[in-house]
Each structure stands twice: as C-alpha cells, then as structure tokens.
Symmetry: C2
C-alpha cells in the first residue's frame, strides 16, 4: 500500500505524519515553528527517516499564510506576506520537492482542513461547503463545485467587515490591518483583550459567549448569502466551548429571518452548522488527502 | 447553423431573443411581466413563431427569483418564494419544455449575466469572478472553478450585512426582510427613499454618490475576502452613474488597507472592478450562452 506524507504548518507548530488514511498512521511528530531553516530541517529529517522504510508517494501541505497558490507564479508554493517574523517569502514547496523528490500538494491550512472533512468527515458527499476555524486567527476554507477555492489569491474570510454596534460593544478590535473586522472582533485574542481572560477560561455564564455567537452568526449568514454552502463546519480553539453551537444556530436563524428557505436552515440547522468530525485533526488529515490526490491514481 | 432561444426574465419585463451569438440575433422581443399565464403565453407564441423558420436547438433562461436550481428537486425550474404577486411557485422550465420540446437551461438572472460576460464580455478566460447588479434589487452572480455557483439554494449576496453607521446615515433601509442589509441600504429604491429623488436624477454633485460608493465598496471587499474573485463586474441601473467606479475603486483600496497583496488590486484596480462589457445585454446574452451549452456539442 502506498504511503504519503502530510504537514499541517501552523504559526506555533508543524504537525507532520506519514500514513495512508485516518486509521493508517505510521508515524507522527510535532515540530515547533521557530525559524524556517530550523523547522524545515526537522521536517525533512522526519520524512527522510520515515522514507527509508516506507517510501513516500507524495507529500501534502496545509500552511498558514498568506500563501501563493497560483501554479504559474514565480513565487508559487511560498508563504508570502505573513506577519510571523522570519517567515516572509519562505519557499515551502521548493525545499520539500528537492529533498524528497516526490509530488508536493500545497494549499492553505483551512482549505486542507476543509478537504479532510470532505474526504473523511462532516462534508462527505458535499460539493459546496465552508470550513471556518476560530482561534488565534479566523480562517475560512471553501469548496465550490467540488474544488477547493483559490481564485485571485485565496479567501481571507476572517477579514470581512460585519456590523459592530459600538454602544453595545465599544471594544475597538485587535486586527492590525482593520481594527474591528470579523477576526478583530471575534478571534481568541479579541476575546482575551475584551474580557481580560483567555477564551478557554471564560465561564459558560459569561456574557462573552452571547456576543461571540452574535459575531459568528453575522459572519456565517454573510457566508450563506455569498456562497450558499451546503454545510458550515466550525473548528478551532474558541469553538471548543460547545454552548456556542446552539447560540450561533439560533442567532443565525433570527438574522436570516426566513429569507433563505431551505429545510437545512429552517428545520435542521443543528445539522447545518456543525463541528468538524475529525476535530483538531482535520488539517493534518486534509494534508494527507491532498497528498493522496497529488500522487495520482493508484496503479 | 443551429439557432437557440434566450429569456431574461425580470420583474417588469421578459427579454427574449433567438440567435446564435451576440452578432447573430435573428429576432428579439420585450414582453411585460404581468401574470404567469399571460406572460408565458406571449413568450411561447414568440418562440413558436420563430421555430417555424428556425428550429431551436435549446432555450436558456436567466430568471428573477428566488428559483429552484437543484436538478433532483420536485420543484426544479420554478420561481419559488418571490415577493412578486402571482409568481410564487411558478413552474418555468416545465411549460417551456412541454411546448418547445427542446432542452431548457435554467439559472438566476445574475448567473446568466455572469455567464454572458464569461463567454463574450469582461470575464473571458476567468474561472472565478463576480457579477453584481445594482438596481431595483442587488443580485450577485458568481463563477467558481469555472462553474456558475448554485450550492444549497443560490447566492443572495444582496442581503449580506455590512457596517451601517447610523450617525452618519440614519436611514433605516428598505429591505422587507432585513431592513438595513446591503440591498436595504444601497439598491435603487434605497437611494430614492433616502434622498427623495430617483438615483438616475441625482446630480453628480450629490453626497449620495460617495455614500453609495462606500456601501458598494464594503460589500465588494467582503466579496474579495470571501471568494478571492479574479474580477468584479458591476452592472444595473444605479451603476450607470459612471463616477461611481473611481469612487468605489478608491474606497475599496482604502478599506482593504494593503491586506490582499495582488497587483490586480493594489496597482490595477480600474481593471479589477469594471462595468459589464455587454452592458445591459449581459443577462439575455448569458441566457443564450446557457442555451448553447444545453444543446450539447455541435455535430
């Protein structure tokens, strides 16, 4: 059976694994995100060791960004204008290909997670859906017509502008670029800055959750209006507070006000706005799924 | 040469034509939108007459909505929950197929216009772009991965919620469902209600245009963040005020604040946010393009 490599590249750690499916994982490692040279060195060492006993057919990458996904571009496969120090204009695909000599699939971390959910999780059989992660940042991965959405650059749905009632919530937002954009109002760091407590320590009784659900619902209904997804999957650290789901579902229905007449929304919203079936492993398993595609059809 | 039928079905009139391309139009007619029975009667009469001399290979429809685009649905091809009296749950595809006995392609009016621009207009060669019309309502048609976007229902981008500063603009909005959603703030009727003058009669010196450009730019940057389109085409009656384009382009760049680093946006925005190359004929010509596809490959 062919074996594949997968990398979920995050701002604090790289999750790497070798295997051929969610239940066929041969090896797995977490590598801290320090400098590109050091981190890539450890990544290549891991895959090099593994390849001695299990030659890799391909490697898949889901990376933090922004990244260049345009195949014809001279900077294809690089992390571009990231705010992470030392990582601007870092070639990701080049060193992997040179060292491992296998096809390398490259996409955003959230598109990879979306793809993992499509292959093995909550989006099986769907051709149009959204995977959104709410944590240190807010990222949006999308599938449309059965393909992961790239476009001019790639979606950056966390930065959309949503209504912000400064009388109810005078918090100015934490986005370095836009202040009170969606991510500036609703990411983990925004919650911590607004309430003085990290999101994971806020009690269920805190008014923080109703406000958070409101912002998430506002962004979600805009996604529904813009893309008409068949399902919306919400992952990331902030979403581990499970009471958010019913709050978001109720708020989204109220905001839509019956306009989008689909039973998935009007009658079964608890099956429409859902957590990832793969949990926090959606990203690295999605990278594995990308690798399996990149290797081409099995002989 | 095969000949095709096209229908752009609007709330006030149906534009119908027979031909095989933008420069090969054999006949064209405008039929007022009264009752379904009366309007369809005239439509079928027109095509029936034409078919006597030029048998139609297929018919394409771009319709006002909401419409049911899901091929497996029992109500596929109908206009569903429209606010237009008498037109709720009107079967569109059924009567056409029964009377004309040819394949019928059916999509939203804005998707048809997007497809027209893709085939013969400002979106040739693009695989991911947006066509937005700003008039009596605001509609958004989209292509993603080379396909027109449908999804759960179809996009209703006019109803997205955008920041609304009630101190600067206390106008409550005109949307029956959502008050001050994007359409509620920026459609033609919203402009007329806010300023007491129809949009087409507001002078270029009116403060209306800067405010309108602001709302359009807010919606456009949300579209950029959500979909990363390769181009955004703006049509419809309100956009006939040509000074809107530079105002929107400038406002969009300011709102993005350098975050989306693509030369199409940072350096050449006048080629990125553009009017339709087919003008007001994008919709009916797009319906013609849909018909040409529905007829299948030419022998």
């Amino acid at each position: 059976m062919p074996v594949y490599g997968a990398i979920e590249a995050g701002g604090t750690k790289f999750n790497c694994l070798v295997g051929s499916g969610p239940d066929q994982i041969l090896a797995e490692i977490r590598i801290p995100t320090t400098s590109p040279a050091e981190t890539f060195g450890q990544v290549l060492q891991f895959f090099g060791e593994q390849a001695k006993t299990n030659p890799l057919a391909a490697v898949g990458v889901g990376s933090f960004g922004p990244v260049d996904l345009y195949p014809g571009s001279p900077t294809y496969g690089t992390i571009t204008s990231t705010v992470k120090p030392g990582w601007q204009m870092t070639d990701f695909v080049g060193p992997l290909k040179a060292a491992l000599r296998v096809p390398v699939a490259f996409d955003t971390d959230v598109n990879a997670a979306a793809y993992g959910e499509h292959k093995w999780g909550a989006a099986r059989g769907l051709t149009q859906f959204i995977y959104m992660t709410v944590g240190t940042g807010i990222g949006v991965g999308e599938m449309c017509a059965g393909k992961l959405v790239h476009g001019l650059v790639h979606p950056e749905g966390g930065h959309m502008l949503i209504p912000h009632d400064r009388q109810q919530d005078p918090f100015p937002g934490v986005c370095h670029f836009h202040g009170d954009c969606f991510e500036g109002l609703a990411s983990g760091p925004a919650m911590q800055a607004r309430w003085g407590i990290p999101a994971e320590k806020l009690p269920a009784s805190s008014p923080a959750w109703a406000l958070e659900a409101r912002y998430l619902a506002l962004a979600i209904i805009n996604q529904i209006y813009m893309l008409s997804p068949q399902r919306i999957i919400l992952g990331g650290g902030v979403m581990e507070q499970a009471l958010l789901f019913p709050l978001i579902q109720e708020e989204a229905q109220q905001l839509l006000n019956g306009y989008v007449r689909s039973p998935q929304i009007t009658d079964r919203i608890e099956e429409y706005i859902v957590p990832p079936a793969l949990g926090s492993r959606a990203g690295v398993l999605g990278a594995l799924a990308l690798a399996m595609d990149a290797a081409g059809p099995r002989e």
